[in-house]
Amino acid sequence: MKREAPIVLAGIVGLIQILEHFFDFEAIAAVTVELQNWVIIVSAFSLALAAINLAINHTQKISAKKAGAFDSALLLITMVFTAVAGIFWGMESSGFKFVFNAIIDPAASAFYAMAAFHVASAAYRAFRAHNAHAAALLITGVMLMIAKAPIGEAWFPWMPTITNWIMSVLNLAGVRGIMISSAIGMICVSARILLGIDRSHLGLGRD
């Protein structure tokens, strides 16, 4: 029962979502929306899961006095401070806004921007036209970079016409082919889940 019931539950709630799309019954529509709103509530709980796992992991690191215990303590202090500020003072409080604007925003932006430096390094060391396919990839990419930069447009005014054509014909065909393939894959995976064939997400077999 512990094994079958969750599979049946997933199948029923999924089927209701599908039925609502094909039948114009108010009752089904109401149940559908209600279930979707339940998912929002359950997902809100799930947001805390990662934070709890993180906290457990770093608390263990501190208690074991492992290397990096100081960093772990910093992490926990910042986590608790931010959570307390958000929950008790409110997300519009100056303390919470400070954490977001002075730490989260610049740190996240800097970490993400670091990819550009690695791209620069890769452009120099790794983006090689080893064969004809790689050359096609590189040439298309470089043409796009020229066309999208104002200086490229000024030097090669005909370039945007070519790259627009590439984007709206060849790129469109390629992306669409990939999109249709991935849609078929997605539909199959969803169907497997609803039919109870795929149970890996429930961790079954690992009791």
């Binding site: 979707q36 709103n37 997902s43 932006s109 921007a113 390094s121 470089v142 104002p150 469109l172 669409r176």
Partner: protein
């Protein structure tokens, strides 16, 4: 030849410094290269410009602050444009940084006299990803019984007469992901959808534009700069375009140089066919 080969082995940290300088110099002393407006941007601008005072539009914030430099200038430009036309904006967030971003972007407009709850509202973030999007699209007041600040949405002036996403005049989303989620969940409501995308995912949205599931597309910092030009109001995006030009030139030079170095090595038998260096 030997020089080219040796330069191919330069310490990457010099390249990092060079990239910063190449971006910084044109920002300190702008060159003022002209920006041509693409058909994508002019079409999206025409659609948004056709909105009338009193129309209500959704802005869905689907990006995290890390992707903001590329996509946020679009949102800034659209807030300026639509608020100047008297269009009302309902802000929702597909990603959890959204509510804080909305707070920041609407602050200057509040100072300029826009009224919260009447001219705009920040409904906030809902956990659950695509399911949450489907939920609020079907019944906005059920999914959002209160806004981000805890105000009741059923009595809010801006949301009077609005029950589903079909009741809006236009739907605009900003994202650092692909457009697929919005096309899947919003397209069925027959509301015109405009995507403000990060440059990286723009090619993936092309089929949706051709199939008319997306009414318009604005792409990255360049798209924002073009939009600013159409508004005749140069802003942060336009200021970054010279830097973008220079950085592109540098990276193209790197690619050409790296390949020249590779082929020289290969011709001398120093690099294998699959060697990266």
């Amino acid at each position: 030849m030997e020089l080219i080969r040796k330069l191919g082995e330069v310490d990457p940290r010099w390249l990092y410094v060079l990239l910063v300088l190449v971006v910084l110099i044109p920002m300190v002393s702008p060159i003022g290269l002209p920006i041509n407006v693409s058909a994508y941007t002019s079409n999206a601008f025409a659609l948004l410009d056709s909105l009338k005072p009193g129309d209500t539009v959704v802005f869905d914030f689907g990006y995290y602050v890390d992707g903001a430099p590329d996509v946020e200038p679009i949102a800034v430009a659209l807030f300026d444009h639509l608020f100047s036309k008297g269009v009302r904006i309902v802000c929702v967030s597909y990603k959890n940084h959204g509510p804080m971003i909305v707070d920041k972007l609407t602050e200057p407009h509040v100072k300029a006299g826009k009224e919260y709850g009447v001219d705009f509202v920040n409904l906030g973030f809902l956990a659950g990803g695509e399911t949450a999007l489907a939920a609020w699209a079907a019944d906005i007041k059920k999914a959002y019984p209160t806004d981000w600040k805890g105000n009741n949405t059923s009595t809010m002036p801006i949301l009077q007469g609005i029950n589903t996403v079909a009741d809006f005049d236009m739907f605009v989303f900003y994202t650092d992901d692909s457009a697929e989620v919005w096309v899947r969940q919003i397209s069925q409501y027959k509301v015109p959808i405009i995507g403000g995308l990060i440059t990286v995912t723009a090619p993936q949205a092309e089929p949706f534009l051709q199939s008319k599931q997306l009414a318009g597309l604005l792409v990255g910092l360049r798209g924002a700069a073009e939009y600013e030009k159409l508004m005749n109001k140069p802003g942060t995006a336009s200021a970054g375009m010279d830097a973008q030009s220079m950085a592109h030139l540098m990276l193209i030079a790197f690619i050409l140089f790296g390949n020249a170095s590779y082929f020289i090595k290969r011709s001398k038998g120093l690099a294998g066919k699959g060697a990266a260096k």
